[in-house]
């Protein structure tokens, strides 16, 4: 065990692992590009749907159950299938990642909207805000913490699933894991796993840190 640990340490301290197109910075960058592009596209699709369902109250059943469906979908299977059916390129991988990130964001956005106090919404309409103004001035700010939580969960999920890109011959942090396993180089695989875990945790923490300053001040109950 101690020996393995030393080997992993050696891997991390080897200079050539940190430079060039296969180096750690490049692979972290590639992985983040996959994840961020897929999450942003998914958010552009999911958030309007969630807001629409939340504002009108129509389609609530769909919004509530979508995340369950998303959870049940075997993500690697979906990515591999998309890749195999439509042309062995990055595009189907992106499509699959987007597909997997949409449900949880729709559900959370809807949940945030549904949690807006009925009286507050009623009063907003009652003092003369139009439907559009109610949405942007009242509902969205109040639902924001949950919407953001949905984006965060989706991001982490996409980061995890994006490792499959390496399995299919592309880059990203899955590269070290799959190469390590294929070459029976356990140290490399473990180093890759550590990197993957660190990147995911760091991203999660960064998004959590963003959550607080982006929450409207009146909703931060702690400053009572």
């Amino acid at each position: 065990m101690g020996e393995l640990f030393a080997e992993i340490l050696r891997w991390f301290t080897t200079g050539e692992h940190w430079s060039g197109p296969d180096g750690v910075p490049a692979q972290v960058g590639t992985h983040l590009v996959y994840s961020v592009v897929a999450t942003v596209i998914a958010a552009l699709i999911a958030l309007p749907i969630g807001l629409l369902i939340g504002h009108t109250g129509r389609g609530a059943f769909l919004a509530i159950n979508l995340s369950g469906f998303g959870r049940a979908l075997p993500s690697f299977g979906v990515v591999i299938l998309a890749f195999q059916l439509s042309g062995l390129s990055l595009v189907p991988i992106y499509l699959a990642l987007v597909l997997l990130a949409v449900p949880v964001m729709v559900t959370n956005t809807y949940a945030g909207m549904a949690a807006v106090d009925h009286d507050v919404r009623d009063a907003a309409r009652g003092v003369g805000l139009t439907g559009w103004q109610v949405l942007w001035q009242v509902e969205v700010p109040l639902a924001f913490p949950l919407i953001l939580a949905g984006v965060r969960i989706a991001t982490i999920q996409v980061v995890a699933t994006a490792t499959i890109a390496a399995y299919l011959g592309f880059g990203g942090l899955g590269r070290y894991v799959f190469d390590g396993l294929a070459q029976r180089d356990l140290a490399q695989a473990l180093a890759g796993a550590v990197l993957l875990a660190v990147v995911a945790i760091a991203l999660d923490q960064a998004l959590r840190a963003l959550q607080k300053p982006l929450t409207p001040r009146g909703l931060r109950r702690s400053n009572r």
């Binding site: 009286d119 507050v120 009063a123 009652g126 700010p141 109040l142 409207p216 009146g218 009572r224």
Partner: protein, 353 residues
């Protein structure tokens, strides 16, 4: 003036909330819609500012069909106060009050001045403006709700059980302040409550609704208490109708006579009860020689109700209500018989319409 002309409201699930309603809400008065839950009073209120639209019939404000006006435009000219106040939790108190003025595009300075003025009007300290709603007490939140509704000085105010969620002491205070504000502002107020005492206290006119959205009686509080149209209304008014009536008449015309008074420092003489006054002539309480303890007495002015007078005579050891002037200085006492005579006179005035 708001008028309802043969208004019906049926919901999609088939329930009739309002049935063939004809009602004229007079300008500059408080009209209270009262009834048990599910009687259609809130639905009636919400049709005025088109939070709901009538299934049939016409609602007019100053002769104009409300359905000719876009909902949000209409609502900016009508104040709206609901239970729990419905304040925006993500906006400061000042921003909450400024909602409608900002919608109407007032300039910043005008908005700020108006907010400041309104906070004073509803009795909120200016420094609360920067707080968030959850940092205020229930009573304070309700005041903010009223201030927000008054912000653009709308001629009409709709209030849906605005004081339903605050404790009785604060509720009484808020009711008194609403009456004080109304004496000044003379808005056309439609007020929904299920509490008949609140209705009698606040209403210039009361509309009693029965389940199924039927308006059963629409009259002044005094008429309602003396002439309930049927058993249902009589039941709804409750057991103490007579006493409620007394709450509508004042002590103004009840004769005052003198009684023995003493200063706090005086030694009292005989066995008689004496009324102890402070150096400023405000009544402190009753004292007898056999018992040095002071039984507190609260002075009543001409504006207080006959009910309060009667209550004072019953709870005083001498059977006398202590009377004071507007400044709270002692002027004399009234006995139970004098109050009873006034009550009888008042009753006969109401009985002969």
């Amino acid at each position: 003036m708001i008028s309802f002309d043969a208004v019906n409201k049926r919901f999609d699930d088939g329930t009739t909330a309002v049935h063939e309603l004809d009602l004229e809400v007079p300008e500059g008065e408080i009209t209270v819609l009262v009834g048990s839950s599910g009687c259609g009073k809130t639905t009636t209120l919400r049709m005025v500012n088109r939070m709901l639209d009538a299934t049939s019939g016409v609602i007019r404000i100053d002769g104009r069909d409300v359905r000719e006006i876009a909902g949000s435009t209409l609502r900016r000219d009508i104040g709206y106060v609901i239970q729990q106040s419905g304040l925006f939790p993500h906006r400061t108190v000042a921003d909450n009050i400024a909602t409608v003025p900002k919608l109407l595009g007032w300039d910043k300075k005008r908005v700020r001045d108006r907010v400041e003025e309104l906070m004073a009007t509803v009795g909120l300290a200016a420094d609360l403006g920067r707080r968030y709603p959850h940092q205020l007490s229930g009573g304070q939140q309700q005041r903010v709700g009223v201030a927000r509704a008054l912000a653009a000085d709308p001629p009409i105010l709709l209030m849906d059980e605005p004081f339903g969620a605050v404790d009785p002491v604060v509720r009484a205070l808020l009711q008194d302040e609403l009456l004080r504000l109304q004496a000044e502002l003379r808005k056309t107020i439609v007020f929904v409550t299920h509490d008949i005492d609140e209705a009698v206290k606040l209403g210039d006119r009361i509309a009693v609704f029965r389940t199924g959205g039927h308006l059963v009686q629409f009259s002044t509080p005094a008429q309602l208490l003396t002439h309930p149209v049927d058993e249902f209304v009589a039941d709804f008014l409750g057991a103490e109708r007579g006493l409620k009536l007394l709450s509508l008449a004042t002590l103004e015309d009840v004769p005052v006579r003198p009684t023995t008074t003493a200063r706090e420092a005086d030694e009292s003489g005989g066995d008689e009860w004496v009324l102890v006054l402070s150096d400023q002539d405000t009544p402190l309480g009753w004292r007898s020689s056999s018992d040095r303890a002071l039984i507190p007495a609260h002075g009543l002015s001409g504006g207080d109700s006959l009910l309060a007078g009667l209550d004072a005579t019953v709870s005083s050891p001498t059977g006398l209500a202590v009377r004071v002037d507007a400044a709270g200085r002692y002027v004399g006492v009234s006995d139970q018989r004098a109050i009873n005579e006034s009550a009888t006179r008042f009753r006969s005035e109401v009985l002969v319409p």
